[in-house]
């Protein structure tokens, strides 16, 4: 397996992976979506709410706020040594919110949530939770815990995680008369006309839609769009809870663990 990083910033990563098959890429994708744990508010105790939104709606909004996650210091509640329904300091974080609109209408932002652990805070401070008119009050206590994407989408560490085949475009220079129709029709502007030749401008953007092949007036078409077997472009966009490379790392660790468990189960079945 050969991995090349095409693009990377604090939330996105784009990889070119060579020498793996589709089942592996899909296992990796599904592990990232369903198995990598991250923090989210799970239970909310509403002490006072005289706002226009119902308690449930506020609790739901709070749940969807992505929280910066610290996987080293916290355990999954089902694996935690406390075995408690309510959780302990190792598997639960308490966040509180207390706000009253004293003069005029105010917007309550996620930045006003006070966390007991300064490392577990909302990814963004500017998410509106609610708007309060003068005299309205909101007081609540929220409990965040680690969870997995397969239980609820709020525990997915990514907002996008997808792979596609590496495109391969072949232009038959002898057959092609550079009419430029394929350049015009391409929705991703992959091709470019250079003098009396058609050139590939941005191969990675190709979506394998085959429009250029269909529009080619030559018979057989002078352009051919295919894909490289066992080469993939892998895109990942984190919600900000964990850095993208960390998500990949965790997913692989979990995949390894699950495969070991699977092998063990097969052994048990055999005996």
């Amino acid at each position: 397996m050969e991995i090349e990083v095409l693009e990377k910033d604090d939330k996105n990563i784009r990889l070119l992976v060579r020498g793996v098959d589709t089942p592996f890429m899909n296992a990796l994708r599904r592990n990232i979506l369903a198995e990598v744990p991250c923090m989210a508010i799970d239970e909310v105790v509403i002490i006072e709410n005289s706002s226009v939104l119902h308690d449930e709606i506020i609790a739901h909004r709070l749940g969807l706020i992505p929280l910066k996650t610290d996987l080293e210091s916290y355990n999954l509640p089902e694996e935690c040594s406390c075995k408690s329904e309510f959780g302990c300091n190792l598997c639960r974080v308490t966040l509180t919110l207390d706000r009253e609109a004293k003069d005029g209408t105010v917007t309550v932002y996620s930045g006003e949530l006070v966390s007991e652990n300064p490392n577990i805070t909302p990814v963004s401070d500017k998410i509106p939770i609610i708007k309060l008119a003068k005299g309205q009050k909101l007081r609540l206590e929220a409990y965040a815990r680690l969870g997995k994407g397969k239980i609820h989408a709020k525990w997915q560490p990514v907002s996008m995680c997808a792979y596609k085949h590496m495109p391969q475009i072949k232009i038959d220079a002898k057959n092609c008369d550079a009419c430029g129709r394929c350049v015009e029709i391409c929705p991703k502007k992959v091709l470019a006309k250079n003098g009396d030749k058609i050139e590939i401008r941005d191969l990675l953007a190709c979506t394998l839609c085959q429009d250029c092949v269909d529009v080619c007036p030559k018979e057989p078409p002078a352009i051919e769009v295919g894909w490289e077997k066992n080469t993939f472009i892998f895109n990942l966009e984190s919600t900000g809870v964990l850095p993208p490379e960390r998500i990949l790392e965790e997913a692989l660790k979990i995949l390894d663990k699950n495969l070991e468990e699977f092998a063990k189960q097969i052994e048990v079945q055999k005996t």
Partner: protein
């Protein structure tokens, strides 16, 4: 009612981008360009902001009005 925290379809955080989006569009900027500069690429996330109407502002006007009347009445009785 109020801007959703995340995109319904993909789960990208969009709640924190609403106020800047609304302000800039009101200033006369092209909505598509604002979305591009906010880094919202997919059409599922773009429609979240484009099609949103902040109805909570309309609802809150009733409460603001009630509060004003209550204050006015208090003022009247004090006389």
């Amino acid at each position: 009612m109020i801007i959703p925290v995340r995109c319904f379809t993909c789960g990208k955080l969009i709640g924190d981008k609403w106020e800047e989006f609304a302000r800039r569009v009101k200033m006369g900027e092209n909505a598509g360009d604002v979305l591009d500069s906010l880094g919202i690429k997919r059409y599922c996330c773009r429609r979240m902001l484009l099609s949103h109407v902040e109805i909570i502002d309309e609802v809150l006007r009733f409460y603001e009005e009630t509060e004003k009347r209550r204050e006015a009445r208090g003022y009247y009785y004090r006389e």
